[in-house]
Symmetry: C2
Subunit: 263 residues, 2 copies
């Protein structure tokens, strides 16, 4: 029984998210279907976490345990890419240790959210950015972002009230997180690509609650519009009340960039 690690890039626009949902197009469902065609047996694929409908990935990580014999991994990768739609690509395959589990073994994830500030949204970018051509106070947003770093209870930025059991967190709670809604943010920053008029929010943490990044971005946009002071982020975190944070930013601007493991 070999344990195999996959790195996957996808354009999430035309998929109902990562998680398998019967006949609906999903990333996990597409991977499992392709693997079944190659291996002749149904094999569950474990992802590092779910991504929502319309969310993209530069390098999602998953693993599966192969029953019986397996083709060489470089051939497996080519065969998978031949079967998968062009919007899903296996970018790397690697043997994994017997204990490796894409979700439980993950130590950190990095997400990026892209906001296009140009007056007109290029049709070559429109699937991958939020087009927001109105004025945003970027230094103000950059100050707000600092309040996210460190360990906090992110209940105010979660899609639904956080339940007691860790495993309820849409597979996003990593082993190292001590409380259901407590996450450690290693870094959070705003980047400005002036040539493209692209404002990028990048956040790296030990785990994320459902809708957490998109709710943070919605709140940062409120900050950039002058509706919230940068320090309000702290007050919102402390209140543990979803109603105090901003709206959920659209999925298309969000991308899972990287998942880190100990190895």
């Amino acid at each position: 029984m070999r344990n195999v690690r996959l790195h996957i890039a996808y354009d999430g626009t035309d998929f109902c998210g990562w998680q398998r949902q019967g006949e609906r197009p999903t990333i996990q469902g597409s991977l499992e279907l392709a693997l079944k065609t190659i291996l002749g047996a149904a094999v569950p694929v474990v992802g590092s976490g779910r991504t929502d409908a319309g969310v993209h990935a530069l390098s999602q990580v998953a693993n599966f345990r192969a029953p019986g014999t397996l083709p060489p991994l470089e051939k497996l990768q080519i065969a998978l890419n031949n079967l998968l739609p062009p919007a899903i690509r296996i970018t790397r395959t690697a043997p994994a240790g017997p204990e490796f589990h894409a979700r439980h073994s993950a130590r950190a994830k990095t997400y990026r959210y892209r906001i296009l500030q140009a007056p007109v949204c290029s049709p070559f970018l429109s699937r991958f950015v939020l087009h927001y051509p109105f004025t945003l106070d970027r230094p103000r947003m950059a100050r707000a972002v600092r309040y996210l770093e460190g360990e906090h209870d992110f209940t105010s930025f979660a899609a639904v009230p956080v339940r007691a059991r860790a495993s309820n967190q849409a597979g996003e709670l990593l082993a190292s997180a001590p409380k259901p809604a407590v996450r450690r943010i290693f870094s959070a920053r705003m980047l400005w690509r002036s040539r493209l008029s692209l404002l990028i929010f990048e956040i790296r943490g030990n785990g994320f609650l459902h809708h957490m990044v998109r709710n943070i971005v919605g709140t940062l946009i409120e900050t950039g519009r002058g509706k919230l002071a940068p320090g309000e982020i702290s007050r919102i975190l402390e209140a543990r009340d979803r109603r105090l944070a901003g709206p959920t930013a659209p999925a298309r601007g969000l991308c899972l960039v990287r998942v880190d493991y100990d190895d």
Copy 2:
């Protein structure tokens, strides 16, 4: 009667090309529908030339003559972009002189064809490149490209036998071209973007026959594979025989980059 010039960017993937075709999704049809909604009257939109199904544009140029009053152009642009699908964007509107005609007034066009040489095709690029991960002799292709420059009869690279009347050339024959299949290529070059593993063919000329760029690219790939000597381009041009040139490269790698006018 005001004459208005439009610059249009589009992701051609989901369209049946530029030219209006009844109910089928086309760029021209989408523009005319949006204009009719705004102006309350059907107004034909003239493009600098047709692009085929799946071909993109960074800056296609078109014009239309507005009957009666017209909103200010910056408002017209916003209204058009609100009505058009995100895959089509008006990037600029400008008043044009009474004689301006997007097709007849065009002096040069620049096309780019992008070939991705990376082993795996990024899902964020797959709509906009030809994925060709096999070895290509780039210096050889760069030598071949030089034989395209200057004035030539491009019958060998045209989709169909060139007919006598100039206007039969899919709207691609510009006023300055003296013979039906004769075109002047001002520049043709190969660019290599090593960081992206992207090979780019860029060609600027006074007009292009139907499928001409894609047939040239198919022939250049044959050259890069070692099937043709670089100098064969000259022989193929002289023969005026489509059968001697390479296959038609797929539409998705092609983009109309710029149209030049005297003003």
